[in-house]
């Protein structure tokens, strides 16, 4: 019952950017994905979400392969991703954005989930009718996270979660993640604030130029930050 990535290689313009990466996201656990700029974290997240062609390797959810499946199929398998860079449907309103993100839900479920999202982000509830493209950077990030949560995912991949978010919101999000984890959601978290990431992560994977250069428990890193610094360099 895990989201597992085996020996994954992903290329961009003929250049391998993610090289032979293996990792596991387990239900009820948070895996933090760390690494310097350009290490290939975002590419990896997109590849799992079905947005990049996988060169070699495999991805599977609970034993079922989803390698090179369409993003929609991936989502049907319970995997939802928040890509980097506040990506929202710019010409639609906030409410329409969230409703569209619930395309796979039944009508009643949709209404209910929508309510939950607005409870999580009362900021969004204040501007339901605003066109998403005119929102502030942080508001768009909330909306992008809302997109993923609308799927009621079993596995949640978040790239640069706190990008552009006020500390207050980050705290709230961390709480939400903890709740979700309690409900046995598996989380893959890319986060530039290492502290935040380590505070909730169970295991950590560090990428360096596309390769896994460290993989271990978060506990260890929390105790010995030197290991992490070593991995980065």
């Amino acid at each position: 019952m895990t989201l597992s990535v085996e020996e994954l290689t992903v290329c961009q313009n003929g250049k391998a950017i993610v090289k032979q990466v293996s990792l596991q996201v387990e239900p009820g656990k948070v895996t933090a994905l760390l690494g310097a700029n350009g290490a290939g974290k975002s590419e990896l997240v997109l590849a799992i979400a079905g947005m990049m062609t996988v060169e070699t390797g495999s991805i599977s959810v609970a034993g079922q392969p989803i390698t090179n499946a369409s993003p929609e199929q991936v989502r049907r398998h319970g995997v939802a991703a928040v890509p980097e860079g506040h990506r929202v449907l710019a010409s639609l309103s906030v409410d329409e954005n969230l409703r569209a993100a619930g395309a796979l839900l039944k009508q009643t479920e949709l209404v209910e989930t929508l309510k939950q999202i607005y409870e999580l982000f009362p900021e969004l509830a204040l501007c339901k009718q605003q066109i998403a493209g005119t929102m502030s950077g942080g508001q768009q990030q909330m909306l992008a996270i809302g997109h993923a949560l609308m799927a009621k995912p079993q596995y949640l991949l978040i790239d640069e979660m706190s990008l552009g978010l006020a500390p207050l919101i980050v705290k709230r999000l961390v709480k939400t993640l903890e709740q979700l984890v309690k409900l046995r959601t598996g989380v893959l978290l890319v986060e530039q604030f290492t502290e935040v990431a380590l505070s909730i992560a169970d295991s950590v994977i560090v990428l360096r130029s596309g390769k896994v250069c460290y993989s271990g428990s978060a506990e260890q890193l929390r105790e010995d930050p030197e290991i992490l610094a070593g991995a980065y360099l």
């Binding site: 947005m51 989502r75 329409e96 409703r99 569209a100 796979l104 799927a151």
Partner: protein, 316 residues
């Protein structure tokens, strides 16, 4: 919403003003004739423009091959008429063919271009238009033909001009399509999916919108409209593939007036363009360049609605 209503109002007012200017000092009976005649042509512009906008709002593709597809449909229907097929069968087969063609493009070709910029997507449909047009022109060598519908024989008199039932059908169909599409896009979930898809295909895929299904429906609807439009053009304009194919260019002007979005404005703009074009006949100098009307009006309207608006953040 208020903004849109205002736009609609301004566009209408501008066009009425122009008509009044052109009609000034002419006997009202003559003016009436030209107005009715213009409405008849204008409804064709509207219909063409609506077909473009519906697909654009649903997929983000401005389909320049609408005309070519429609032309093939009506040529086929004509051929079947010659072979004495039952009338209804000829229309159904004609429209079914256009739907199929639209689906072929939408399912097989359009996805390969999904990430290109909208202009390239539009230009690519020109390639498809050339293919369809070439096939049509090859299959039906240049000859004198006429496509008739039973509704041509029934007519009503309006302000002194006889209007056939076919022309009324065009106007009513345009209105019906506008209302139906508006309801569909704004009230149904598939409609919302379409708008999401048109906005950004990547994000839509990521948030789980069933792309294949949604696009199939959108292209199917657009093929149906293109087929119907083709039949009407074939009957009311000319049964010549090239003429029908390139009717898409003036139809774009109606679509532009509605900013490729506002179907109500497209409808009204199309009608107004038709009326103005018709009334230009009354102007001694401008009458020789009457067909410029759609283009000039589109430019003026778009520049008007974009006036004062500088979007500093537009870009890629």
């Amino acid at each position: 919403m208020a903004q849109r209503t205002l736009t609609l109002f301004i566009v209408t007012a501008l066009m009425l003003g122009t008509c009044t200017y052109l009609a000034w000092g002419k006997p009202s009976s003559v003016v009436g004739l030209f107005v009715v005649s213009g409405l008849a042509v204008g409804s064709l512009y509207s219909l063409g423009g609506i077909g473009l906008v519906v697909l654009f709002r649903a997929t983000g593709v401005l389909n320049l091959s609408n005309g070519a597809i429609g032309a093939l449909g009506v040529m086929l229907a004509w051929q079947l008429q010659q072979w004495n097929f039952p009338q209804i069968a000829t229309w159904v087969i004609g429209i079914a063919t256009t739907t199929l063609l639209a689906l072929v493009y939408g399912r097989l070709i359009a996805p390969g271009l999904a990430w290109r910029d909208p202009v390239v997507k539009a230009v690519a449909t020109l390639g498809f238009a050339l293919i369809v047009l070439g096939i049509t022109a090859f299959a039906w060598e240049d000859d004198v033909r006429k496509f008739a519908l039973p509704s041509d024989k029934i007519s009503y008199t309006l302000l002194g001009l006889r209007i056939t039932l076919t022309r009324l059908i065009v106007i009513l169909a345009a209105i019906a399509i506008v209302i139906a599409v508006w309801l569909y896009l704004s009230k149904t979930r598939t409609g919302l999916n379409m708008r999401a898809l048109a906005d950004n295909r990547d994000i839509s895929a990521l948030i789980g919108i069933p792309i294949v299904k949604t696009e199939t429906i959108a292209w199917g609807i657009s093929g149906l409209i293109a087929g119907f439009t083709g039949l009407m053009f074939g009957d009311l304009v000319r049964l010549e593939p090239f003429v029908i194919t390139f009717m898409v260019i003036p139809a774009i002007s109606a679509a532009i007036c509605g900013q490729l979005r506002n179907l109500g404005v497209v409808l009204i703009a199309g009608l107004c363009i038709g009326v103005i074009e018709s009334m230009l006949t009354l102007h001694p100098v401008l009458k020789s360049v009457r067909p410029m009307a759609p283009f000039v009006i589109a430019i003026i309207v778009l520049m008007w609605v974009q006036r004062g608006r500088t979007n500093y953040f537009a870009g890629n």
